[in-house]
Symmetry: C2
Subunit: 275 residues, 2 copies
DNA sequence: CTAATAGTGTCTATTAGACAGTATGTT
DNA sequence: AACATACTGTCTAATAGACACTATTAG
C-alpha cells in the first residue's frame, strides 16, 4: 500500500482512507417463483398449473414501462442477505419465505445509469399465502419455456401482457456442461433480467431433482396428484405415477383429510414430512 | 424517484445523479485449489496426495501477517468475471484455468476498513502447470478436514505454518439441507476466509459427484489409480476399484503410454475424453 | 354408466456395492 | 519371492422405468 508502516491495526485504521478504492452501486434482484392455477371448464379435470414469476412494471427511466424483477439497492449498513428479505416483505407482505442466493452479475454495461453489481436471489412461495396483497405495479406472469440445442425461448404471460425473449446457449466449460447464456432477443424485459430468470429456472429444475425445494411452493395440505403436477412443471417432464410415489413416500405424511368434489375418486391429503 | 418527469431515456440519463445511491467497495476472493503430492519413503507405494489451497500472506493491516485468499478490488470499468481472471494471471502466471463463481458475501463487518461486498470464485488447476512460478508471499497449504454433527475442523499446513479453524454448522433450511456456517474458532486466517474455503470445499465435493470437474486438477496423462486417489480426496471417502472404473470408463481414453518404475505392475496412462 | 383421476402390484432394466481373484513390475 | 498396485469377473442389492390393473366419485 502506501509507504508508511504501522505498528498496530488500530493505528492503521485511524489513518485509513477508504476513498482510494473504487466503489460500485450494489443491488439485488429477486426471482419470486410460484405456481398459479387455471381452472378448467370440464368439472372433472384437475386445474391446470403453471410456473410463474412476479414482475413489477418500471415507472421511470431507465426502461420506463418495461417489466423487471423486484429489487433494490443494498444499503451501506445492511447485510447483503437482509436486502432481499426487506424487499420481499415490502413486495408480498410476508417474511418467512424460502430464499436462496443465485448469482452475482456485474457486466460493465448492465445499467445505463451507472456501474452496478447485482446479486440475484430466488424466492419460492405458495401463492395462497398472499391473496390480494400484491402492490398494483406488480403482477404474476406464467412462464412457458421451449428449448432446442442452441436456444431457450421463453414466454411470460400475465393475461394482459405477453413478454417474449430468447436466450442463446453456448458451451462455456466442458467438464461441467456449463453454458454461457446471452440475450438473443428481448422486447419487454428490463436490464439483463432475462438471464436472471432463465438461470434461476435452471437452478430450480436441478434442485428439484435432488432436494425437497418444491415443497416450498406447496400449500400445507396437498394431494399427491397436485404435488406430482408441480414436480412435472418444474422438472419439465411427465413422471410415472408409481415411480413418483415411491420417491416421494418418505417425504410426505398422510393425513385423515381427503379432497373430494372432483368428479372422480377422492384424493388423500398429505403434508410435508421433514427428515 | 424525484418529482420531475422525463420524455425519453436520454433526457433522463442526462439529468441523472448517480451519487444519490450508496456505493460499496466490491472485491473478489479466489479459492485456488489443487492437488499436492508427498512422496513416500517406500519405493513401492504411490505418492500421498493432498487437497491444497493457495494462500497469500498479508503484508499490511488489517490482518497484517495473517494468511488470506488471493483477491482484489473490482475496478469500475471491469466486468466482475474479469477480475478473478486478472488476479489468477497475476498470481499464477497462467490464464486458462477452470473458474466458477461461488457466493457473494456481504456482512456489514466483514472488513474493519470499510463496508465491502465480496464475490468468491473457485479455481481448479493442475499444479504441474506452474512449477516455480509462485510469488514469494504465496504458498500452498494442504487441507485436512474432520467433521462431526455440529462442526467442521480444518487444518491448513504448508510445511512451515499450521493454521487451524473450526466452523459451526447450523441447519438453515430444512427442504434443501442447507447449513449456515459460522466461524467458531480461527487463529490465523484473515477476514471471513474460513467460511469461503469451507463452502468452496463443499461445493467442489458435490460437483465432483455429478460432473467431471475433477479433471481440471489432473495432468494431461494420468493413471486410473491416480484419478481415483483424487476423487477419493475430494469426495472424502474410499471408492471401490471396479465401481470407480465402471463410472469413469466413458470419460477417459486409453493411451499407448504406461507408467512404470513403481515396484509393481505398470499402469496404463489415460487422458480425459470429452463427451 | 362414464370420464377422469387415485392408487397399487409386479416385472424388467439399469446402476451401485461388494468381494475375490488374476496380473505384473521392482527390489 | 514378496510387496504393492493394476485390473477384471461376477454375484447381489438397490433403484428406476414401464405397464397393467383396480378403486372411486360427480354428474
Amino acid at each position: 500500500m502506501d509507504g508508511k508502516t504501522y505498528n498496530s491495526e488500530e493505528e492503521f485504521l485511524k489513518d485509513y482512507d477508504p476513498s482510494k478504492f473504487d466503489r460500485l452501486a450494489v443491488t439485488t434482484d429477486i426471482l419470486i417463483f410460484s405456481i398459479s392455477e387455471e381452472y378448467e371448464d370440464n368439472y372433472r379435470k384437475l386445474s391446470n398449473k403453471h410456473f410463474s414469476v412476479l414482475l413489477v412494471k418500471r415507472d421511470n427511466y431507465p426502461y420506463k414501462d418495461k417489466w423487471c424483477l423486484p429489487g433494490g439497492f443494498i444499503k451501506v449498513d445492511e447485510d447483503i442477505e437482509d436486502a432481499p428479505i426487506r424487499i420481499l416483505k415490502n413486495e408480498t407482505g410476508i417474511s418467512d419465505i424460502y430464499l436462496e442466493q443465485l448469482y452475482t452479475y456485474g457486466g460493465v454495461d448492465r445499467d445505463p445509469r451507472m456501474r452496478v453489481i447485482s446479486t440475484s436471489y430466488m424466492a419460492l412461495i405458495d401463492k395462497n399465502r398472499l391473496r390480494d396483497k400484491l402492490k398494483d405495479n406488480a403482477s404474476w406472469f406464467n412462464i412457458t419455456k421451449e428449448e432446442d440445442k442452441n436456444n431457450i425461448y421463453v414466454t411470460l404471460d400475465n393475461g394482459t401482457d405477453i413478454l417474449k425473449y430468447t436466450i442463446k446457449k453456448t458451451l462455456k466449460e466442458k467438464t461441467t456442461d456449463r453454458y454461457k447464456f446471452t440475450i438473443e432477443e428481448n422486447t419487454s424485459l428490463a436490464f439483463d433480467h432475462p438471464l436472471v430468470i432463465t438461470s434461476g429456472m435452471e437452478r430450480l429444475k436441478n434442485k428439484a431433482s435432488y432436494t425437497d425445494v418444491v415443497f416450498n411452493m406447496m400449500p400445507k395440505y396437498f394431494t399427491l396428484g397436485e404435488l406430482q403436477q408441480v414436480y412435472e412443471i418444474i422438472r419439465g417432464k411427465k413422471l410415472l405415477d408409481p415411480a413418483f410415489r415411491r420417491i416421494i413416500k418418505d417425504k410426505v405424511e398422510k393425513t385423515d383429510k381427503v379432497k373430494t368434489g372432483g368428479g372422480h375418486r377422492p384424493s388423500v391429503l398429505f403434508t410435508y414430512k421433514e427428515k
